[in-house]
Symmetry: C2
Subunit: 272 residues, 2 copies
């Protein structure tokens, strides 16, 4: 299996503190050493770094820790191979374009007897169940919404049904972003924390490092961090429920629109 | 305008020497300081680095020079903005997937009155003429060849016609690779050198640096380097002709198949 780390903020923020703890699990405090990757949105562009070496030994990972990159949406992953060999093309996160938007996806889990029919619009370069699921997802999204990019709420509704279908094949924890929102689905294990004013000091569980967030933030800042296993020892992490899909925008969970609009087909038809 | 650098080899080779000279043009020996980028194929995966800061000031560029990445196909670019602001999404090279292959593209030039009709299968994230041309190219390729990935020769024939059409709108020097071959089209200025046994010493023109290739190669190695302006002072660089398209495989120019097969439609029909 693998581990996921994501961040969503209302102002571009660096992920050095969280990534420092997370990357220790890529070979030192945990066994996820079959590659790693991280993607940072910056306006409509993406900085994408992947490596098939353990994160704890990677010069690239070291550079990310020493040269902070600020972003409002970050998706990171450390890999312990279950399906697909250790190679660059099998490293998460994966990227595909739709509607002129970059879509970034990382997965933790294992899908069995999963053989979706692809029409060719998105095809995996590697041979993981994860990239296959992502291509199937992008195919579904573009088929559903055609020429017009979907709204955040439309993507949420699509993902609810899609995730339930795919999760019937096994474990399907994933993070997904197009730079406008961060979509997180939990199948077995994910936690999140929302940091906001008044900021306090947090201490990493994987590394002897603490940070006083109040010294590096403004009162307006909001940051949500999502991770497989909590990264800090003195913050209140909330566990996702099985089958739960949460959408993060501007550093906090985006409430679902009103109760009566939650059926799958209705709002899509109204908005399309 | 911009400058292009590419490499194609028969064995994974690092591009540190050439990139060191090339990146000096990104703000020191030349004016191309509106961003840069480089992509390295590794099997079916791609390491992709882009930055909207000048290459000469970039920590990422420094890391690439100090931590050699070996690859058989590399595409690099330094940008001087003509169309589209300085931003991450406007940095070359651009990447799109087709047939489960990553396709990487960089462009030097300026296209005027260029407004191709896109069907939505590939759309630009930024607002450069370059990414627009690349999306139009990928759309054309996938429309032409449908479900089955084209052969190198099929791509060559497609690109000949495509490049001539697009070049009617202005300058269209480009490099393109899917990891199996490197396609290079010259509209105004490009040079290449093929390095092979017996290897000699080469000296950079942009930096006080020389390398004895015989010390770092085997007699079987072959490396082709393609660049806008020659990088070394003591090697024989060959200038591309206007309108010329060359295909590089295993470190050398791939000869075109026989003369009578060069018409555009014929070989496609025969092979498809």
């Amino acid at each position: 299996m693998c581990q996921l780390l994501s961040m969503n903020c209302n102002t571009p923020t660096d992920i050095v503190f969280s990534f420092t703890g997370f990357s220790e699990r890529g070979g030192r405090t945990d066994e996820h050493k079959d590659g790693w990757g991280i993607a940072f949105f910056e306006e409509k562009g993406v900085r994408h770094f992947i490596d098939d070496k353990p994160a704890v030994e990677s010069a690239l990972a070291e550079m990310i820790k020493t040269h902070p990159i600020k972003s409002k949406n970050v998706i990171a992953h450390i890999r312990k191979a279950t399906q697909g060999e250790t190679s660059l093309q099998n490293c998460h996160p994966f990227i595909r374009e739709a509607w002129g938007q970059e879509w970034v996806f990382a997965h933790n889990g294992d899908l069995k007897s999963f053989a979706p029919v692809l029409n060719g619009s998105y095809q995996p370069a590697g041979n993981t169940d994860s990239e296959l699921a992502f291509c199937f997802l992008m195919q579904g999204l573009t088929q559903e919404f055609g020429d017009v990019a979907p709204s955040i709420e439309q993507v949420r509704q699509f993902l609810k049904q899609f995730s339930a279908e795919v999760a019937s094949h096994g474990t399907f924890n994933f993070t997904l972003s197009n730079g406008a929102a961060l979509y997180v689905h939990c199948s077995t294990k994910l936690h999140y924390v929302e940091r906001q004013f008044p900021f306090t000091t947090a201490a990493l569980s994987d590394e002897n490092l603490a940070i006083d967030f109040s010294a590096v933030t403004t009162p307006q800042d909001r940051v949500a961090v999502i991770v497989t296993e909590p990264l800090t020892t003195n913050e209140q992490w909330t566990a996702f429920q099985t089958g739960e899909l949460k959408v993060f925008v501007d550093g906090r969970v985006l409430p679902e629109f009103s109760e009566h609009q939650t059926s799958y087909q209705e709002p899509l038809r109204l908005v399309a």
